[in-house]
């Protein structure tokens, strides 16, 4: 393998490096970004972090033209006056601190940008620019040019306000908690009876500041408990609400009756700690936006041809039979028929298959394909939202409503309530014989200490920490509920292409005449000049055999969709389809590239290769039932059979709808299904499965909507990830035991009639804090 890495993007340099300023670059794009940075004194970019650069994509001037369509522009822009426009752009390529450096210094490179401020966690840039000097599309193009192509897909924006609401509620509760505790100090110190007037004064103050806590901060617990009871079910918020109400009513009564401040400090502290748990739960990793649907993948606008006039229109405005124009690298937004002679379509996002498909005039092309090569004209067959793939997407939409709270807690709360009821009953009977006047006070005290505050905190912290841990290992979850569903999985279903295999150009076989070194050299040089995935495959294959030619090519010719030819050191080389090389095609089912070098001929045959570690993974996953659903023909059956346990189900030629049905049937049988897939064609199945994990080579690129995204290289440790997720059960159990211990201690105080406000004020925060620390340590220690 070559040691040469691009100075800018750190990719392997394929072919001749472009040397500039003593550094080597893989392409002109990278070189020009470097040049731009150097010329603007931003060379520090390369020193801040390794692998900082992002390879800029090849883009054409029209790529962002849709941004100048007024309707789209208005939707994108946040603020505008004559000299300033502010936009919030989503730049998925932001990945390290060097990116912050570069983008926030972008006004130095492009003077029309007035300021640029990044939100790293959200990968957003808030940019102000001068509309008289640069247009919105120009700005987008500039960002694209330096490697940060903006993404204009629809994204959900309201998370922020939820987060802020928790902060407000937390603020109110914290304020009340601190103040009331301060005023309760005489009470704690036992000097309460010296001055009844003063005591009443502080008690009324406490009552006053606790009202907003009850009405504002604690409201969602009441709402949640009310909803649960209304649907005749239970969640943890029911016992919590009972505890809160008991606390508040008892304290308010004792204040109004002039008996002292009651438990107002515990009440405020209680809400404060509960809200910290909720806030933490909300805060856990927002690195990835998961609320993507097909619209974030499709372009917002497309060029429509009306009477030979080009016009950019929004996708929604496309009608059946419209003629549309597609340029290189653009994605087809609706099912269409090809009007131009031929086109190469890359369906890798849809199927995971990286080799482009050649389509001829009159052929049907599904939405989601990306055009490679010259521009083409197409005739729309279905409107965008009715196309084949989007229909599938819409069918499965939002069946998995995210339940509030945690499943296990909701089950526990049932036993919890019964236990509290029995204890309260027992205590009442006991006290009936000792002192019947005390019964109410004792029962209220029991309800107060039995309130499962620590338990309520254990779940968000445990699941939140597990989620972070998994994130560090390359599995990113949509929310904490996924962990609970993941822990009850019985069946795992895999897609093949792009999931188990890494793409079909990885394994290359040379069939034909024996080649000398010079001939291989010549082939290498020729392939090196092409960006076609098959050429890349051949280059990698030859490089692994020690070939690394940097020879010049003469008479280079490329015939779109057919092949390439040239002359290297006097050797004539042709590479491409059988007809291009005048070779008789022997086997039409294989993916192959034919060649002639001098007077020798042969072909490179490509086949898919399993990702590293997959066979071992299947061994380790033996306690799950495994299934493979492949969209391909059954050429890899023997390979798959050899690595999968023999009771596994392996099915071929599965359409997206078949996959969806298969998962549905498994669910009907009562199985809990984990689906691992990649392309858009798995979107239905991923959505239907209890847990859908999308495999992605690059986490920041498009993946179908799913419950989780896994880095492709980390798929081989799926079993470890599942066991980490399972570990959450153990942690929760330990937390449960601890919080129950505190409850029992508290109950013993309550039953014996000794629950003073001081005991409550100490016991409650300590139990909550122990559980939080415990769960954090148990998980961090697992590293």
């Amino acid at each position: 393998m070559s040691e040469e890495k691009c100075y800018h993007c750190s990719d392997d340099i394929i072919g001749k490096p472009i040397v500039f300023d003593t550094h080597e670059f893989c392409c002109n794009g990278c070189k020009s970004v470097y040049q731009l940075l150097r010329d603007n004194n931003l060379g520090n970019f390369y020193q801040i972090e390794k692998n900082a650069g992002v390879k800029p994509s090849e883009s054409n001037l029209h790529k962002y033209a849709f941004l100048d369509v007024e309707a789209i522009r208005a939707k994108t822009i946040e603020f505008e006056d004559e000299s300033t426009v502010r936009v919030n752009l989503y730049l998925p390529a932001i990945h390290c601190s060097s990116c912050i450096y570069l983008l926030e210094n972008s006004p130095k490179i492009e003077p029309a940008i007035q300021s640029c401020q990044l939100n790293f966690a959200k990968r957003e840039a808030s940019i102000q620019f001068d509309p008289t000097k640069i247009s919105l599309s120009g700005l987008a193009l500039f960002l694209d040019k330096i490697g940060y192509a903006p993404n204009f897909g629809n994204r959900v924006q309201n998370e922020k306000s939820i987060d802020k609401q928790y902060l407000y509620k937390l603020g109110v509760a914290g304020f009340a908690f601190g103040s009331i505790m301060l005023w309760s100090f005489p009470e704690y110190l036992g000097v309460e009876n010296d001055n009844p007037e003063f005591r009443n004064f502080t008690a009324y103050l406490s009552l006053a500041v606790s009202i907003p806590v009850l009405i504002y901060s604690a409201r969602e617990y009441f709402v949640s408990a009310y909803k649960a009871l209304k649907f005749k079910s239970l969640n943890l918020d029911v016992p919590i609400t009972i505890g809160i109400i008991a606390l508040y009513v008892q304290s308010a009564y004792s204040i109004l009756a002039g008996e002292g401040p009651g438990y107002m400090d515990s009440f405020a502290g209680f809400i404060f700690f509960l809200l910290i748990g909720k806030w933490f739960q909300n805060k856990t990793y927002k690195m990835l936006s998961f609320e993507r649907d097909y619209t974030s993948y499709f372009p917002l606008a497309i060029t429509r041809l009306t009477n030979n006039e080009e016009e950019i229109v929004e996708i929604e405005a496309l009608k059946v039979d419209d003629l549309i124009l597609l340029r290189n690298e653009e994605v087809l937004p609706s099912d269409s028929i090809l009007v131009s002679e031929e086109a190469k379509i890359d369906y890798s996002f849809v199927t995971g298959e990286s080799v482009p498909v050649l389509k001829r005039k009159g052929e049907f092309i599904y939405a989601g394909g990306k055009l490679l090569g010259q521009r083409i004209t197409l005739k729309v067959q279905h409107e965008s939202n009715r196309s084949h793939l989007t229909r599938l997407w819409n069918e499965i939409k939002s069946e998995k409503e995210t339940t509030s709270g945690f499943i296990y807690q909701n089950q526990l709360s049932y036993y919890f309530l019964i236990a509290i009821f029995l204890i309260a009953l027992g205590a009442s009977i006991g006290w009936f014989f000792i002192d019947p006047t005390q019964i109410t006070r004792i029962v209220v005290a029991i309800l107060i200490v039995a309130c499962p505050c620590a338990l309520a905190l254990s779940a968000p912290f445990t699941f939140g920490n597990i989620m972070r841990l998994l994130g560090r290992r390359g599995l990113y979850l949509k929310n904490t509920n996924v962990i609970e569903r993941m822990n009850s999985i019985t069946d795992i279903v895999f897609d093949k292409t792009g999931t188990l295999t890494s793409g079909s150009t990885d394994k290359v076989e040379l069939i034909g005449d024996e080649l000398q070194f010079e001939e291989k050299n010549a082939l290498y040089a020729l392939c090196n000049s092409s960006t076609h995935p098959l050429s890349r495959g051949i280059v990698n294959y030859l490089r692994s055999q020690g070939v690394a030619s940097k020879d010049e090519i003469e008479n280079f010719q490329e015939s779109q969709g057919k092949g390439i030819s040239g002359s290297i050191n006097g050797l004539d080389v042709n590479l491409g389809s059988p007809s291009y090389c005048n070779i008789v095609n022997k086997d039409s089912t294989e993916t192959a590239s034919y060649f002639t070098v001098g007077n020798k001929k042969g072909r490179f045959v490509f086949s898919s290769e399993l990702r590293i570690g997959i066979p071992e993974l299947m061994n380790r996953l033996s306690n799950y039932k495994l299934h493979v659903l492949s969209g391909d023909k059954d050429k890899d059956l023997t390979l798959l059979k050899s690595i999968f346990p023999h009771e596994s189900v392996i099915l071929f030629e599965q359409s997206p709808a078949d996959k969806l049905n298969y998962i549905t049937n498994l669910s009907l049988e009562g199985k809990k299904v984990l689906m691992v897939g990649d392309g858009l064609n798995d979107a239905g199945a991923l959505g239907k499965a209890d847990v859908g994990i999308a495999v992605s080579e690059d986490v920041f690129r498009f993946t179908p909507s799913s419950d989780a995204i896994i880095e492709a290289s980390k798929l081989s440790i799926l079993d470890q990830l599942l066991s980490i997720s399972n570990y959450s059960k153990t942690v929760l159990l330990v937390c449960l035991i601890f919080s129950l211990t505190y409850n029992i201690i508290g109950l013993s105080f309550a039953i014996s009639g000794n629950l003073s406000p001081l005991v409550a004020a100490i016991l409650m925060p300590i139990s909550s804090i122990t559980v939080v620390i415990l769960s954090t340590f148990l998980i961090q220690g697992k590293k």
Binding site: N44, E104, N105, A121, S179
Partner: protein
């Protein structure tokens, strides 16, 4: 004794002041992004650093 009532009221007012400032800080977005500013602060004097590098005889890495 009258003093302690005054102090109680003052403590309440101070606490309220902090509560309002916390609201204001939240609203103005100070808690929206807790990562980027920590990186940004390191770049403040980068232009000086680069100039120094240039005088060192263009020692680029």
């Amino acid at each position: 004794m009258g003093m302690i009532y005054l102090m109680l009221i003052v403590s309440l007012i101070i606490a309220l002041f902090f509560l309002v400032s916390f609201f204001w800080a939240t609203k103005s977005g100070q808690f929206d992004d807790d990562y980027t500013p920590s990186v940004r602060i390191l770049y403040e004097d980068e232009s000086i650093k680069i100039n120094k590098q240039k005088t060192d005889g263009n020692t680029e890495v």
